[in-house]
């Protein structure tokens, strides 16, 4: 299976672990990633200030990835995932704008010829690679580690767009963690926002949201939090220390990417999974997971 991988700007420049770990892991499952050299911003930042431009930027990605033979686009970032899904829907609604955009795309020698399947990492692991495959990897091993799942707002919402899981009560990430031999439980902060959208414009507010997410999750006694989105990872992992310090607390919640967790189970080494970029205290759980 060939999948075009759309990394998104933030993964590209900052959360490189998201891309590195995902590429390594999916190759193990015989998925051939296509990593295009040319790319651009998905347009999320333009949503309200220049709506047409934002549509054009996403359409450009769709058209460019159209030039590769692939069975779908794997988007590593929740924001990009929403933009790609939403743009397909919007352009279907607005034929006039679609024609204008196509004219500009043709200028560059690309075009939206077909509508690709937009794939979220959770969907990839749960539905394409499949729970049974993951169970075989785990090989009935059980860990005494309780995992909190974090889907991220734009992976699920809005429910008006097609979604890979129940937007108000998702369970696929839990299924994956359980298949890998971990414990999960529902917790009220599960679908809360990490605050990343506000990172550039209102950093203090963003930190406050991240704090209530981290502190709220930690009080349920989880040993590890997993996510897939580079922004959520930035807020919950990379900035955990700063966030907690702002409220006079110590970082306490180890955070890992879903691909990293699966990669560890596959026996991939820590460098391949770029685990040295996880700034949260993952040393607390890492030895237990590595002890296979």
């Amino acid at each position: 299976m060939r999948l075009a991988v759309f990394t998104g700007c933030f993964t590209l420049v900052k959360q490189i672990a998201v891309e590195a770990s995902m590429l390594k892991v999916i190759q193990y499952f015989n998925i051939e990633p296509i990593t295009p050299q040319k790319t651009n911003c998905c347009g999320f930042a333009f949503r309200s200030i220049a709506p047409n431009t934002s549509l054009y930027l996403t359409a450009r990605i769709l058209a460019y990835l159209n030039t590769f033979e692939s069975e779908g686009i794997l988007t590593l970032c929740n924001g990009c995932y929403l933009m790609l899904k939403e743009t397909i829907y919007r352009l279907k609604e607005n034929q006039r704008l679609l024609e204008i955009i196509r004219k500009h795309l043709k200028d560059e020698g690309i075009d939206i010829k077909s509508i690709p399947r937009i794939i979220h990492p959770i969907e990839l692991f749960h539905d394409i690679i499949g729970i049974e495959t993951l169970k075989n990897i785990a090989n009935k091993k059980q860990y005494n580690i309780s995992i909190a799942t974090h889907y991220g707002c734009h992976a699920l919402r809005p429910s008006t767009l097609p979604s890979f899981d129940n937007p108000l009560n998702p369970h696929k990430m839990e299924n994956i963690a359980e298949a890998l031999g971990f414990k999960t439980k529902d917790y009220p902060e599960r679908l809360d926002c990490c605050g990343a959208v506000l990172l550039a414009s209102k950093p203090e507010l963003a930190m406050k949201l991240a704090y209530s997410k981290i502190a709220g999750t930690a009080r349920w006694g989880f040993q590890l939090l997993i996510t897939t989105c580079p922004y959520c990872f930035e807020m919950l992992d990379s900035r955990q220390e700063a966030v907690m310090q702002m409220f006079g607390e110590e970082p306490k919640l180890p955070v890992m990417l879903l691909a990293q967790l699966i990669g560890l189970q596959l026996g991939l080494n820590e460098k391949d999974l770029a685990l040295n970029f996880n700034l949260s205290p993952i040393d607390r759980v890492l030895p237990q997971i590595l002890k296979r």
């Binding site: 108000l168 009560n169 529902d186 009220p188 902060e189 349920w220």
Partner: protein
């Protein structure tokens, strides 16, 4: 037929309906136009044709002009057709020589902003009707007898009230209830708003009268499985599920229950407690005869135990009882299958089903009830202690486009009643009600609202609660915004009560299918014939509905409807006969080839192929024919038609509209 050389004389009457029609359509223009049609004997308009004056004018005009056909352009045939038919009768004409044109619902009301075109359309509609009526024939209704008995489906307060009223009038009533006892949802309530009288204390006596009434035959633990026939003559099959306890022998000592070793979830207590495998749902159950639940009985599951059989002093336990089908004949049917709570675990933000100490309104009724799981002490499930702070959230699933678009009509009052319960049981408790609106429109409701507001420790937040979240210590936090103090609030409580939306009970759809009642409203409710004028009648003659099966209702409204349905049944049964609709199929024997296709498509077996003078022809039994027209569609020779809706009449209308 060409109206220019017509020998008929048609009278046309056009109603203004105040401004409903006259405000949009230029009626004088229409009158001018149709006056020129030679067959028109008289063309008149009237401000309100349905008024006494309108009817008298109509009769006089018909008489003086010697008209032999009448076209009335007014409103729906559903509202005034009988009235105008009666007018024809009084004017000496057969009532089926009337053609009613609906220029209100189908024209003036839907084209309010296009007066000219609406006028043109109305004119064409009226002219088409004039063309059509030239071929109308006088028709006669047939009288058929009525079986003097009624079936009532559902043994809640609505079914009980209806059954008692019909039985009191002297007719036999078969009352069918799917649960082991009658009583329905009202038996689960602790108290009723706004008077706070004990629910079972007012329901219990009625249940006992039903049980012993000479005219009522009670089938509990039974279901209706088939209904055939027509108004006045329904045949109904009732499936009696086996109780495994013989009703004729059981004395109601209930020793069997005390000795039964097997336990399962108690449905009557809304899953908040356990009952035995042999059980009566609640102490006041009618009949007070236990039922064995085979799913949890050790004998049925594993072939062991039989303790109840050994210990029963009356030898009433019979493990060999079988299902039994009873066939009855009735003249009328009342559907009173009631409501149930909406499955609110789908309202994810309120976390129902995630934490034990979140209960529905009906569950709180059981918790507060003296014969409930905690015998009247309010205990928060999961915490196993009395809650000190309680939140009540209204409109859970109701008034919500994602779930139920309609108001549940009882939640507001129930929430006030529930806060009263809580304060009554635990005067120290604090109660928070989250309601963006409190709808207190019934008698005594607003007064009750004020009374509850004044109770110390009851706080009403005038907004919808946003979310319910659990805390590690088992308490729950409600997030909301209080507009009164213009601030976000987070209230931590021990128990959350969700006033769930109301939907029709689970069996309603199958009853609808058995009765061919057509569509359902959202929420699965049955549709009344007319929301204002025929609230307890349905599209099927002889079938009546009452109570929450047609939409959410409180107890007074339910009881009023039940009595209304009963009085409809009584007037039908006491008249003793019905008149069939006369629009039956008629066969043109000169064209009929006797091929029999019509007979094969007729669902009512009304058409037989008969040999007449060496030829086979179709013959219609008018008593069986419903006038559906399936035979008309199937006939290859255009030999069978529906009376007063013949092919050439439709042709005439088509041609006239296009003229």
């Amino acid at each position: 037929m060409n109206i220019l050389d017509s020998s008929t004389k048609t009278a046309v009457f056009i109603c203004h309906c105040g401004t409903n029609i006259g405000g949009v359509i230029d009626i004088s223009k229409i009158i001018e136009n149709i006056k020129n049609i030679p067959s028109i004997a008289v063309a008149q308009d009237h401000r309100f044709l349905c008024s006494t004056d309108g009817i008298e004018t109509m009769i006089n005009s018909i008489k003086t002009s010697n008209a032999d056909r009448v076209v009335v352009a007014a409103c729906s045939f559903r509202t005034h057709e009988p009235l105008f038919q009666e007018a024809l009768h009084r004017a000496g004409l057969n009532p089926y020589l009337l053609e009613l044109v609906n220029i209100r619902e189908l024209c003036s009301w839907v084209h309010e902003n296009e007066r000219d075109r609406a006028t043109e359309k109305a004119l064409k509609m009226i002219r088409a009707a004039i063309m059509k009526i030239q071929d109308n024939q006088p028709l006669k209704r047939i009288r058929l007898p009525v079986t003097p008995a009624a079936l009532v489906i559902g043994g809640g307060i609505a079914g009980i009230r209806a059954a008692l009223d019909i039985a009191e009038a002297g007719f036999t009533v078969y009352l069918v209830e799917k649960e082991p006892s009658i009583g329905g949802n009202m038996a689960k309530l602790d108290k009723t708003f706004p008077t706070l009288d004990c629910s079972i204390c007012i329901l219990g006596p009625l249940m006992n009268i039903v049980a012993h009434h000479p005219n009522i035959k009670l089938y509990t633990y039974s279901e209706v499985i088939s209904i055939n026939g027509r108004v006045g003559d329904f045949s109904v099959k009732i499936l009696k599920k086996p109780r495994y306890v013989r009703e004729d022998l059981c004395r109601g000592c209930l020793i069997c229950i005390a000795k039964c070793p097997s336990k399962t979830v108690d449905e009557f207590n809304m899953g908040l407690s356990h009952r035995k495998a042999i059980y009566v749902p609640f102490p006041q159950a009618v009949p007070r005869i236990p039922v064995i639940d085979t799913a949890s009985c050790l004998y049925f599951q594993k072939g062991i135990c039989r303790a109840c059989e050994k210990l029963c002093p009356a030898n009433a336990i019979d493990f060999n009882q079988k299902e039994e089908v009873v066939e009855i004949k009735v003249g009328a049917i009342v559907v009173a299958t009631g409501f149930e709570e909406y499955n609110i675990s789908q309202v994810y933000e309120y976390s129902y089903g995630r934490y034990p100490n979140i209960v529905t309104g009906l569950q709180l009724e059981r918790l507060a009830s003296s014969y409930g799981p905690t015998e009247g002490r309010l205990i928060a499930p999961g915490l196993n202690r009395e809650p000190r702070r309680i939140a009540i959230i209204n409109c859970v699933g109701s008034r919500d486009e994602r779930h139920l678009p309609y108001c549940c009509r009882v939640g507001c009052m129930a929430s006030l009643k529930h806060s009263w319960y809580i304060k009554h049981l635990m005067p120290e408790a604090e109660v928070f009600i989250f309601a963006d609106e409190v709808r207190a429109s019934g008698k005594g409701f607003e007064e009750f609202y004020r009374r509850v507001r004044l109770i110390p420790g009851v706080y009403i937040v005038k907004s919808k609660a946003s979310e319910v979240r659990g805390n590690p210590d088992g308490t729950l936090t409600i997030k909301a915004f209080d507009p009164a103090i213009s601030s976000e609030i987070a209230i931590t409580v021990d128990l959350v009560v969700l006033e769930a939306g109301i939907v029709a009970s689970r069996g309603t759809e199958s009853i609808k299918n058995l009765l061919k009642l057509g569509a359902l409203n959202s929420g699965g409710f049955l549709i009344e014939l007319h929301p204002k004028l025929n609230p307890v009648e349905t599209a099927v003659d002889g079938v009546y509905i009452c109570g929450a099966v047609s939409g959410p209702k409180d107890i007074p409204d339910t009881v009023a409807q039940a009595s209304a349905a009963a009085s409809k049944v009584i007037s039908l049964l006491s008249r003793g006969y019905i008149e069939t609709q006369p629009y039956s199929a008629i066969v043109d024997e000169s064209r009929c080839s006797g091929c029999g296709v019509c007979s094969s498509v007729c669902e009512y077996s009304a058409i037989k192929i008969v040999k007449k003078k060496e030829r086979s022809v179709a013959v219609v039994d008018e008593a069986l024919c419903k006038g559906c027209g399936a035979c008309v569609g199937s006939c290859p020779s255009r030999a069978i038609e529906i009376a007063n809706l013949k092919l050439n009449q439709i042709d005439a209308m088509v041609a006239e509209i296009l003229r």
